[in-house]
């Protein structure tokens, strides 16, 4: 089991650029761009299902409140989609601009996934345009049907991207001969051992983030005294989606953790700051990893729990960081803090979701306490924090590898200079971008919902 960690033969990059031990600027840029893009992806995954659900209510009941809400949301979705188009473009540029040797060496192995993703994305762009601009112009049934491809392509598009990420964590579908990548089998790369759990985990995260962010927004209106049917629907629909997803996410998270324990034991060791390989490993809540003493300090220790979580067996062996040389270990505290943050927030969201469903089923109404709505206000932003923490956990946890056990991140980075300038420019642009998007959404929100029902030309 321990020996497996050393099994792979490292790959020489085909471009053979000067190795750059300092890939920090490139990594920061990539991380920033992903952190900006991923929350938008969540909306792409989950939002179409929500506004189509509301439009379905409208078609069934004929109630204009539902129509106004679905129409308004579809406009929001278009704005978010447009933002996602540009941030996604930046990402595809960055793959080449920042990691030319990664692309040159492995592009032929995983590239087909992006080809399929590109097509999904294309279809999404087409149908979201037809859907949003087709309100009141297409027949009602045809209109709701044009929304279905948006749901499907939102799902397939992110599925292909996640399959590439799964592949970076569990590379397969190629051979290495004398340090060169040969015999790529693209579809085998696509169907790697990590794609299933990463996919389900990310999908549910999409519903959680979209649901809780929307719920937070409308909870704020509710607290301000706006209890109209419009606000109530706009609060209950996304909240229900999120509340149903949250408890399932706990189970899926457990599945993902066991997969990591199986395939990337060093990453799991970093999650928990486990230095020595041991049986019956304990789980620590909080505290920090002291790399001098090689242990977690000031945390609350729960005996056997890590072995139970990782292998569903209290005495199972958990492999520690010591199993690999120091240069092959990820930065433990970043990974561990992100991991614990994700777990803590996930637990809170699941509890909030279960509470809401319980009250709803028992009393068929929203919880009455103001504290519930205040909790929703916090849950929205927290769900984004959990999302980003989750990605930090898996991405930083994979370090120092860009392709796990085959290529080091520092060997993939560009030899072009002056990345710092580009980094500063990118930060400024993102700040501007998000400032504008928020401004745009507020401008949209300032218009009364009834405005959506006026007919033009």
């Amino acid at each position: 089991m321990t020996a497996m960690v050393f099994a792979a033969e490292q790959v020489r990059g085909v471009l053979e650029g000067a190795p750059q031990p300092d890939a920090v600027a490139a990594r920061q840029m990539q991380a920033l761009s992903l952190a900006v893009h991923i929350p938008l992806v969540c909306f792409g995954i989950a939002f179409p299902a929500m506004f189509l659900f509301v439009e379905g209510l409208y078609l069934r009941t004929g109630d204009p409140v539902y129509k106004a809400l679905a129409k308004r949301w579809s406009k929001v979705a278009l704005i978010i989609f447009a933002t996602g188009v540009v941030t996604g473009t930046i990402l595809s540029f960055e793959f080449g601009l920042l990691w030319p040797d990664f692309m040159a060496t492995f592009g032929e192995v995983f590239g087909v996934a992006f080809g399929l993703e590109g097509i999904s994305f294309f279809l999404e762009a087409i149908f979201i345009a037809i859907y949003v601009y087709g309100w009141d112009r297409l027949p009602r049934r045809a209109h709701i049907l044009t929304g279905v491809p948006i749901i499907i392509t939102g799902a397939t598009g992110s599925a292909f991207v996640i399959s590439v990420n799964g592949w970076m964590n569990d590379p397969q579908g190629f051979e290495v001969v004398n340090g060169q990548v040969v015999d790529p089998v693209p579809f085998s790369a696509l169907l790697n051992g990590h794609v299933a759990h990463e996919l389900v985990h990310m999908y549910l995260a999409g519903y959680l983030v979209t649901g809780f962010l929307l719920a937070a927004y409308y909870a704020r209106r509710w607290l301000k005294g706006n209890h109209s049917r419009y606000t109530r629907t706009a609060l209950v629909v996304p909240l229900t989606f999120a509340a149903l997803a949250a408890p399932i996410q706990v189970v899926v998270g457990d599945w993902a953790g066991r997969k990591v324990a199986e395939n990337q034991p060093v990453k799991l060791a970093a999650f928990e700051g486990v230095y020595r390989t041991e049986e019956g490993a304990a789980f620590h809540i909080g505290g920090f990893y002291d790399s001098g003493r090689n242990e977690v300090r000031f945390g609350i220790k729960i005996p056997y729990l890590l072995s139970i979580l990782a292998h569903h067996n209290p005495t199972a062996e958990v492999i520690g960081l010591e199993s690999v040389p120091p240069e092959d270990r990820p930065p433990v505290n970043i990974v561990r803090t992100a991991f614990q943050t994700m777990i803590a927030i996930g637990t809170f969201l699941a509890a909030l979701g279960v509470f809401f469903i319980f009250i709803w089923l028992r009393k068929r109404r929203l919880p009455a306490s103001k504290w519930f709505f205040r909790a929703l206000l916090v849950a929205g932003p927290l769900s984004v924090v959990a999302l980003i923490s989750g990605w930090i956990t898996t991405e930083v946890g994979r370090q120092p590898w860009i392709v796990y056990r085959f290529m080091r991140t520092e060997d993939a980075v560009t030899s072009a200079s002056n990345l710092e300038i580009a980094y500063v420019a990118l930060v400024a642009v993102y700040v501007l971008l998000f400032g504008s998007v928020i401004w745009l959404l507020r401008r949209l929100a300032a218009r009364p919902p009834e405005a959506e029902l006026e007919h033009h030309g």
Binding site: L15, F81, V85, I90, S92, V112, I130, P184
Partner: protein, 346 residues
Amino acid sequence: MAEICAALVILGVTAYAVFGSADFGAGFWDLTAGGAERGGRMRGMIQRSMSPVWEANHVWLIFVLVMVWTAFPVAFGSLMSTLSIPLFLAALGVIFRGMAFALRGQAATINEARVLGAVFALSSVLIPFFFGAAIGGVASGRVPVGNAAGDLIDSWLNPTSIAIGVVAILTGAHLAAVFLTGDAKRADLPDMVAAFRKRAIGSGIAAGAVALVSLFVVRSDARDLYDGLTSGDGLVAVLGSALFGLLTIVLVAVGRYGPARFAAAAAVGAMTIGWALAQDPYILPGALTLDDAAASDTTLTALVVSVGLGMLVLVPSLWWLYRLVLRGTLDQEYEPLDQRFRPVDS
């Protein structure tokens, strides 16, 4: 297989050069439309025409990137690293442009609209220039194989790059004017038809003239490229492009705006095909041939099959979108951009 993939890349580049640069060209006319009041009608027309399609038009760029990195990974890594500066600037431009265009639709005052419009229009002019400059760097053989192995500045700031960059701007402007003339006719706005018709003809002549001049620039700067463009298949494509360009101008002049759309697109298509033929068999002239750059056959087959299957869904969908647009089903109410900010009764 490598040839099929190269053909798909050229198809993507052509589509982006037609649809994407028409959007950029619209930005060019937005920039030059004049003061808020005088240009208001024109800007309103541009806003209305572009809204439903600009995202779909833009996706071609991503299609090209993905195709190149999968089918020709070494070429992709080499050119992205050497041409990192123009490509990064183009990427930033993409952000600014998308953002500013989307925002302007919601602007509440003429001043907001003015600032956002300026950003939208300026980046619309800069993006095609940087893309054109990057193409010039590749075509003139300034991108060697390796991680940022070429000159980071000279690879895109050279006579060929500048010439192609300027041609890219003018071509986009011409395409946009042709398309907008047709849209204005559909919207029943005779003054807009006249305005864009004038611009379509003028920019068509300018684009043709500059293309001719740049041929001489290429002759002194990148002889191999020039020879490729002026002999054999390359020459046929160049002449085809010139012919379609002339045809477009004639069709616009006689008021046949529908067929003019296709002629203009064909002119641009012939130009990109000519570029590909001129540097055949190289993908990075002087450094890397198409066959050497190609990924393994398994990957290429997988890619062609996937993209082919995808196209079965994509092409009808795209066709439907453009049909809805061209029939006016998705048309929004026309509103001059400056008028939105005036009280209704004035």
